[in-house]
């Protein structure tokens, strides 16, 4: 193509250059340079102080471990439950379309709705769950005090499994029926067909779902902000919630930047490892 079209291309790209330059690349540079500074406007240079501080910051360590557990729980749960649901609504059942739609609904609500609604449902005294359990003569539980992390993992799964179900369903429908039929003729039972045919062929979907869920698990914020306030005793102090408080409560933009930057490195590392493992697991029939 001639030069004229190249010029048109650049002209059409001009808004995108401006936008991604200002709203993505400048912030990335800033978060890195801010990591070496301190203060409410991150304007005092402190060298590696922020990074040495991370090494001995127990609260950050705790928050990181909490977030790892949260990420693992929400990722594994979203894969196992999402896949199980997909297999269920893939069966030739009447009304399956309605179920597919219904299961997707929580994912389309705001995390604000999910957080507020479940905080109400799980409230030790006022919550409908305990009141129903109590009136049925069953033992009640202060869910958010006894098992706070498991509880917010559960709430997050309630929101996300419909989404992963739709992804797995698309993956399942991409597997040619002939593979399973051939295996059946060869005498494979349903269990063998699932482990030997369906699951290996779903590997790309599973990889995608796990990458997405790990990334969104590390980024979870509102579950702590709305439901638990990070407590009790920092047991649900999700990493981004911690960073949010360092930045906007303690007003230390430098330290908060360093913490954000470190999490970005962790997320990139996780993604790279997952892609490596995932590529090795891919099969062709």
């Amino acid at each position: 193509m001639s030069k004229r079209y190249a010029l048109t291309a650049y002209l059409f790209l001009l808004p995108a250059f401006a936008f991604f330059g200002v709203m993505y690349y400048t912030p990335i540079v800033n978060i890195i340079t801010n990591s070496f500074r301190t203060g409410p406007r991150a304007d005092t240079f402190t060298g590696f102080d922020n990074f040495t501080r991370v090494v001995s910051d127990q609260a950050v360590h705790n928050s990181f471990v909490v977030t790892l557990i949260f990420g693992a729980g929400t990722t594994i749960g979203a894969i196992v439950i999402g896949l199980a649901l997909a297999l269920l609504v893939d069966k030739p059942l009447r009304g399956r379309v309605v179920f597919r739609a219904a299961l997707l609904v929580p994912y389309l609500t705001s995390i604000a709705i999910v957080g507020l609604l479940w905080r109400n449902i799980l409230d030790p005294q006022l919550g409908i769950l305990n009141r129903v359990l109590d009136s049925a003569g069953l033992p009640t539980q202060a869910w958010l005090n006894t098992n706070p992390l498991a509880t917010i993992i559960g709430v997050t799964l309630w929101m996300n499994v419909g989404y992963t179900m739709v992804l797995f369903l698309a993956g399942l429908q991409g597997i040619p029926e002939t593979y399973r039929e051939a295996a059946t003729i060869d005498g494979a039972n349903a269990w063998q067909r699932f482990w030997r045919i369906t699951l290996p062929l779903l590997a790309p979907t599973t990889l995608f779902v796990s990458v997405m869920m790990v990334i969104s698990g590390f980024q979870a914020f509102a579950q702590a902000y709305i439901i638990t306030g990070g407590g009790p005793a920092d047991r649900t102090d999700l990493y981004i919630f911690h960073v949010f408080n360092v930045a906007f409560t303690a007003r230390d933009f430098g330290y908060a930047s360093a913490l954000s930057f470190l999490l970005l490195l962790v997320i990139i590392a996780f993604t790279v490892v997952q892609l490596r493992i995932g590529r090795r697991g891919e099969v062709q029939y």
């Binding site: 079209y5 991604f20 800033n30 801010n34 649901l85 609504v89 059942l93 609500t109 705001s110 980024q219």
Partner: protein, 275 residues
């Protein structure tokens, strides 16, 4: 087809579906119930599953206690503005990467895709500083500007524009159509369904967005619904019937869109799994 399953298998499947469906839907129905209860009912020791008489006045009370009208207006302006921006920019940029040859094309595309790896939390603090320097904290433009386009929307549109035959574009050029006119008259009409998916998803996700509006607003009247409602709940934490009423209002537009265009939603999610 429908008769291939054994009766036992079918019964178990329906049983599981019913349980899963109940766990999914009952909490949302309870939200609706709560929104229609009296304050006394929300506090009663006997669990109230559905109110004795529906209290539609709760919605009115909500508007009296909080500037909920402003919340709705802010949400509409912000989510609507961002959606329009996406519909304007994402297909244009996608078109360029699908159909033009130019120096540095692949490098630029890679730099664009790299932004997919940059979550909001990485941008949050620098954007906050940038917006305060511009005086844009607590303004609509401050809520809109960081989300005018995104790499995923551009990538999606590129995928849809690529299969359009080049001959169509060449023919229009020979006819003397301007480049912008070709984009508008030849390209865009071919990708209408993809635009619908893009628009729906952008709107619903921005309508629901929580973190940035929380960070970038400082006064109550500038809050969007998710943030306004959450902070309302912190202030009036015993008035669950009003918080639930607000939640119903927040979910209403999404529910209506989903009922009308279910197919697009499922398609959009499936597309997000494209590699």
């Amino acid at each position: 087809m429908l008769n291939r399953m054994s009766p036992a298998n079918r019964v178990v499947s329906y049983l599981l579906l019913t349980v899963v469906g109940a766990v999914t839907v009952l909490p949302l129905l309870y939200m609706l119930s709560l929104a229609l209860q009296t304050e006394a009912e929300t506090l009663s020791a006997d669990p109230v599953l559905w109110p004795e008489s529906m209290q539609f006045g709760n919605f009115q009370e909500l508007f009296e206690r909080a500037p909920f009208g402003s919340f709705i207006l802010n949400s509409l302006i912000v989510a609507g503005g961002i959606t329009v921006a996406h519909l304007v920019f994402d297909p244009l940029v996608g078109y360029v990467f699908a159909k033009f040859q130019f120096p540095l094309r692949n490098t630029l595309f890679l730099l664009l895709l790299a932004t997919l790896m940059v979550p909001l939390f990485v941008r949050m603090i620098p954007l906050y500083t940038m917006m305060s320097n511009l005086g844009w904290i607590n303004t609509h433009q401050g809520l809109i500007a960081p989300f005018l386009m995104d790499a995923f929307g551009i990538f999606l549109m590129r995928q849809f524009i690529q299969p359009i035959p080049d001959d169509l574009i060449q023919a229009a050029r020979i006819d003397g159509a301007s480049e912008l006119r070709i984009y508008w008259k030849v390209i865009l009409p071919q990708v209408k369904p993809a635009l619908a998916v893009l628009g729906l998803f952008t709107f619903v996700f921005q309508w629901n967005e929580f973190l940035w509006p929380l960070v970038a607003t400082t006064t109550e009247d500038m809050r969007t619904i998710p943030v306004g409602l959450t902070l309302f709940n912190q202030e009036y934490f015993t008035l669950w019937h009003l918080t639930a009423a607000g939640s119903v209002l927040l979910f209403l537009p999404t529910a209506v869109l989903f009922l009308l265009t279910q197919r697009y939603f499922v398609r959009g999610i499936t597309l997000s799994g494209l590699k």
